[in-house]
Amino acid sequence: MEAQRLDAFQVIADPSRRQILHLLSKDSLTINSLAENFDMSRPAVSKHIKVLYNAGFISIQDIGRERHCILKQDGFDELHKWLAYYDAFWGSKLKKLEALLNDKTDKK
């Protein structure tokens, strides 16, 4: 799998990939049945699936002759990671701002 390694935000920046995730959030699907939802070619759908797979958004299971795509937690964890980062980031920066602004309470 040497498809370009994208981070979680880049992965879901693509509307087709978002659509795939939405479809998979309702049910696990085979690559063929996923492809039926799109105008693009099956190889194009496969490429998106590969990107989602590489980023940890889905897992793929071979069941019989079919490859099933299943939503997976890992990719979503990376998004959580950034939000958690910014939450902590602003929390500590704003504390500094508070200290700075309240330091000068003497002059009104």
């Binding site: 069941i63 299943i70 950034w82 939000l83 602003w90 500094k96």
Partner: protein, 149 residues
Amino acid sequence: MAKIIQYQLFFPKPPEVVWEYITNPELIAQWLMPSDIKPVVGHEFQFRTNAMPEMDFDGVFYCKVLEVDPCKMLSYSWKFGPGDGTLNSSIVIWVLTETPNGTELLLVHRGFEGSSFMSMFDSMSEGWPKHIQKILQLINTTNNGSTEA
């Protein structure tokens, strides 16, 4: 986890003073990061900090002023990425409200691409047993199918 980051603070200072602290590069550098910010719509500027390779982050926040209402409201885009030209977007909004004894400052950091997916995954947790059930069923039927065939 929230999809929007939001903080509300109060300062016993008039909005004009607080405004300076979120728009003047020298003052901002004291509490946030060095930057070349200007409260002018369309102005592009950067905040610089340490790179975090483990987060795929090159240490630069690329910003563009979106809205300016002096001493009342300021918003800018906030983009970040690994340094290969691809960027993740979000928006930072500052709202200042004058009160009888100071200023209320609201910070909202939102608009993260894909944040809607986090709730999607959360809401799925009930769906999981059903999914697994279905996969088990599929595995079983294919196994049966192939042994019988």
